[in-house]
Amino acid sequence: MTVSVLLFIILAIGATGYALGVRRARAAAGGDTRKLHSLTGYHGQSVLLFSAVPALVLLGLWLVLQPLYLDHRAGAMIAVADIPEGGSLDLVLADVRRVAEGLDLLVASGGMTEDDLAATGAADSDLKARLGGVGVALAGEVGEGVFEAARDYRHATHGLSLAMAAATIAAALAGLVFALRRIGTDYRARNVSEGFVLLLFIASSLVAVLTTVGIVASLLIESIHFFRLYPARDFLFSLTWNPQFRGGSDLGIWPLLWGTLYVSFVALLFAVPVGLLSAIYLSEYASRRLRALAKPAIEVLAGIPTIVYGLFALVTVGPFLRDWFAQPLGLGSGSSSVMTAGLVMGIMLIPFVSSLSDDIINAVPQSLRDGSYGLGATQSETVRQVILPAALPGIVGAVLLAASRAIGETMIVVMGAGAAAKLDLNPFEAMTTITVKIVSQLTGDTEFASPETLVAFALGMALFVFTLGLNIVALYVVRKYREQYE
């Protein structure tokens, strides 16, 4: 029985439970629903929740745990001799799963009966060909151990799937009966379903939190692998970035961190004033009709894919800056530069700053404006001295959001600033950022366990810590000013 069918059955039981709950509640009240403590809908809802949710949770857990158990069981059957030279247990287990899948397909397509399967062994010469015939291509011959494990794997899978179906449906029915039996005039179904819903909310927010924890943990584990192979001191304090895939690399983070900060700084230097001033214009000065046109027009910028910005940097902005600024000033001759990437990224960030700031400025109460005008302040004095201070926490938030976008941006940097890791002050020099190097270290034909590849995780960790720090600063600033202004 497939999972989707099972899901459907559980939901059907839940829906039936709802209907039964409503009916039973009505019957318990003798037709006068005013006698019930809770509305009939709440009784139905409580039955629905008790029958569907535990069954679904059980199903989810089962689906997570079953492969773990099966791998463990198959792993126990694989002898050390079955693991080929240079391979690992994981690879053999993958083979086991593929063979098991292939056998399933063979049986399903009628190429083999259950009895045949029990009789055949790995020695069967045409097994590989027959598996290939149903679309399961194997690299080598199927070993005796692998075949036995696969057969067992397949058998266990079938058994467990049936057990899963039986257990979840039983759980759903048990929940249904349990909840139905509790229904009566005094049963507080409203409170029960409120409590249940609260639990659901908590569980949902836990999913987000646990995902974050999981991401950090995976980054951390790989980073620890990296630091076993490469000294942390060199990573944190070396000023050169020079990965050699033959070994003996210099993997200092500073050139990348500098590039990241430099490009983001240029981007913010461009985006914050332009975005903020346009937000002030839109919210304080522009007529309603102009605003209705201009605001969506600016927001279109946010919808452009970053690769298109990258093209713009590569084809237009880069050569322009080179021909009109870098070369006449004698600062460089390449079209890839921090300035190119920074400017284009700045354009990308304008809508983040302006759209959010515009909303925030609009939210400043009109009474403050009136108060300022009533004292004889001009419009710009009012903006500068009353509206901006009142909107500051929100504006800081908008700027920091833009900053974290800038730090995490990859495509524009690859195409605008190049991929050369350098520590330089000249904004017309090509540089690169952490994200670009994460991509370039992980892609390509390299061994996964080498420090040159694993450094990507350490870089990711560094980036994560950095943006986390930025967010903490942002929260602190916002909270501090909010206390003062509300």
């Binding site: 009136d370 108060g371 302040a377 001295q385």
Partner: protein
């Protein structure tokens, strides 16, 4: 105050400060105010009373051109301040508002410290030459708003942290710090409790020594307590305008009498 004594109240034979003739106000197509003629005297408290939506706040906002900030609003007729037409093309509304201050219905302190709130006007108009002088203006304004003793130890705390009544007195201090000639108050006590109301009313009476005060109020007791002259508005018309005692004791118009005795509202 005892109503019997209203008629005997001492009146300055003040000179006319603001003169309005044939004022019409439109919000888009709505004719909000028709043919208002009023003379507001110097060093006098003038009260505007009338039911909600009668145009009294609208008229008040005409006196310092606050209606300019509303795009659909159109004002016709003449309003003069000391004989000068305030709707003249050459008049800068910003300078006018420095002379005609305003206090709003809801306390609206800026998100700044108490000191900076009061210093806001003097700073933007460049009224003081140095910090010591500015300190003096701030202290004097807070004293006149009867707030100094409560806030003198925390001048740099945020103005938004004060209680409602204190906030309103802060807004009054802020308005008088620019030394206006006229002070417009749009229901300044509607968000205050009776004690704070009494303080503000006392303050209004003291301010009369220096300014001409115009107050919009929904409370007829308040109008009777604080004002020397009262104007009654009804449905966009100025129905009756005269000495407060006369309006409250012997109104000439039957509508005024009905409103004062609580029959229309």
């Amino acid at each position: 105050m005892d109503d019997m004594r209203l008629t005997e109240r001492a009146l300055d034979a003040g000179t006319t400060k603001i003169m309005a003739r044939g004022v019409q106000v439109f919000y888009g197509d709505t004719h909000a105010l028709r043919d208002v003629d009023v003379d507001i005297l110097d060093r006098t408290v003038t009260a505007f009373i009338g039911p909600s939506g009668c145009g009294k706040s609208t008229f008040l906002r005409c006196l310092n051109r606050m209606n300019d900030t509303i795009p659909v609003c159109r004002v016709e007729g003449t309003i003069t301040l000391d004989g000068e037409d305030i709707y003249d093309r050459r008049v800068d509304p910003v300078q006018l508002r420095a002379k005609v201050g305003m206090v709003f219905q809801k306390p609206n302190p800026f998100p700044k410290s108490i000191y900076d709130n009061v210093a806001y006007g003097p700073r933007i108009h460049g009224l003081t030459r140095n910090k010591a002088e500015l300190d003096g203006v701030v202290e004097q304004s807070l004293r006149r708003a009867a707030l100094w003793n409560e806030v003198k130890d925390r001048l740099h705390a945020p103005g938004t942290g004060l209680s409602g009544g204190q906030q309103q007195r802060l807004c009054i201090a802020r308005a008088i710090a620019t030394s206006p000639e006229v002070l417009l108050m749009d229901e300044p006590c509607s968000a205050l409790d009776p004690i704070a109301t009494a303080q503000v009313e006392e303050l209004i009476d003291e301010l009369r020594a220096n300014f001409s005060v115009v107050i919009v109020t929904h409370s007829m007791q308040q109008a009777a307590r604080v004002s020397q002259r009262t104007a009654f508005f009804h449905l966009g018309n100025l129905v009756e305008y005269g000495e407060t005692g006369q309006i409250f004791t012997t109104p000439r118009d039957p509508r005024t009498e009905s409103y004062i005795s609580g029959r229309i509202g």
